[in-house]
Symmetry: C2
Subunit: 276 residues, 2 copies
Amino acid sequence: MLVSGRHFFPDVAPRSLGHKALAVNLSDLAAMGAEPRAFTLALALPDAQAAWLSELAAGMLELADAHGCELIGGDTTRGPLTLSLTVFGDVPVHKALRRDAARPGDDIWISGTLGDARLALGDFRGEWLLPEPDFSQVRPRMDTPTPRIALGMALRGVAHAALDISDGLVGDLGHILERSQVGALLDVDALPRSTVLASQPEARQLECTLAGGDDYELCFTAPVGERDRIAAIGARLGLAVTRVGAITPEAGLRLVDREGNPSAYHGTSFDHFASP
Amino acid sequence: MLVSGRHFFPDVAPRSLGHKALAVNLSDLAAMGAEPRAFTLALALPDAQAAWLSELAAGMLELADAHGCELIGGDTTRGPLTLSLTVFGDVPVHKALRRDAARPGDDIWISGTLGDARLALGDFRGEWLLPEPDFSQVRPRMDTPTPRIALGMALRGVAHAALDISDGLVGDLGHILERSQVGALLDVDALPRSTVLASQPEARQLECTLAGGDDYELCFTAPVGERDRIAAIGARLGLAVTRVGAITPEAGLRLVDREGNPSAYHGTSFDHFASP
């Protein structure tokens, strides 16, 4: 459920909102290796403005069509602007990627790059100011994220555990560790980032890559023996896949830098109940 | 999607709210002749109060258990109090009851009684005042409606068209007429009503039975040859089923009284976008 003022700005462009509302749900399918089939949309809005609704629908249906995902039902009512989508997908029996399947020795992988959505958000919020060309480059990562459907499906039978990074890598990876009853060693310097983010101060890079969230990249674990296959999948999809650490038998998440020294980072994840 | 202040009172008992939020969705399954299987719940709430949530869950899960309907997913976030449920049910291929299947000559049937939910709401709103025993009797029809699941399933292959009455009989029956490209003759004096409602002024009875909504009874059409079977189904389920009119080839809904004279009633249905 996406609530105005919490999950998006009240004055967000409706086309972006339509795209993102579906994208974040498709991303949940991607994280399980599922193929999208259909979705429902429940919508509360303060008033029924035809132009606004038409733009919202356009952004949503364009992405839906790209994934062969049909709108099959839902409802609309008056109320504070809120969207609630339920998506349906298929995955063969026992082939779904899960959070509880990471095993000690697994590599930890990240798709694409992390942190750009958070970097754009910081500019929006006035936490920092980006040069206009930089902002234009990272903004689409916040406004119109790309669900990694093809990657998720390709990882069936290859990856052990997977999820999509929506609330921040540290918190989200924590879910895998907890559910799988394992720990992890993560090389914070190996985390993939855009050239725009790489030009930012070091502390901000850490903040954005480790706690940013909203990038909707996949984080997955896989046996060391699958490295070549995963690299080939990334090459075929034209999508970077980067090894950033390993699953350990001991509980807990240890962050280290490229020299193996403990990282100074202490951050947190997006809290859905924190004050806005 | 159910929005606080629009679909329920902000201070509603959470147990009732939990029941009703699921009941109105199960009612949609009932109207199609489907058997409930599972549901998801997306919930926005201003703050996470354990006692309130526990009551909400109790009301919801009690009804879910009664119908073998499992909660399989969803999410919670902070926001204006809003519930969005998606229910899943099974119905054999080509056996679903539809809105576009009414045929001229069909009887029009109503389950249970109509208007008590609206009668209770009017007391709540101060439109009229009911004696306490009367109010106590009709209030559960507003707070904890009963989805007519067993009836819907029994009507597979018997009824032609069906829907559940949520926004008011005139408006809801209008959907069947429009989709089926037929009209109807409705005897307003035949509409089933409780003894409490039957003791109210005539105009109020008409208002409550014809435009009340929120009763979640089924309105369905069926061939004249099915009268005995439908009566038997009602008897088996211990649920009144009442013939209230007939489908006509000419478009339009004509309301008549028991003598066949035009009814003076001019009303409307619940508008999800009207000002509260």
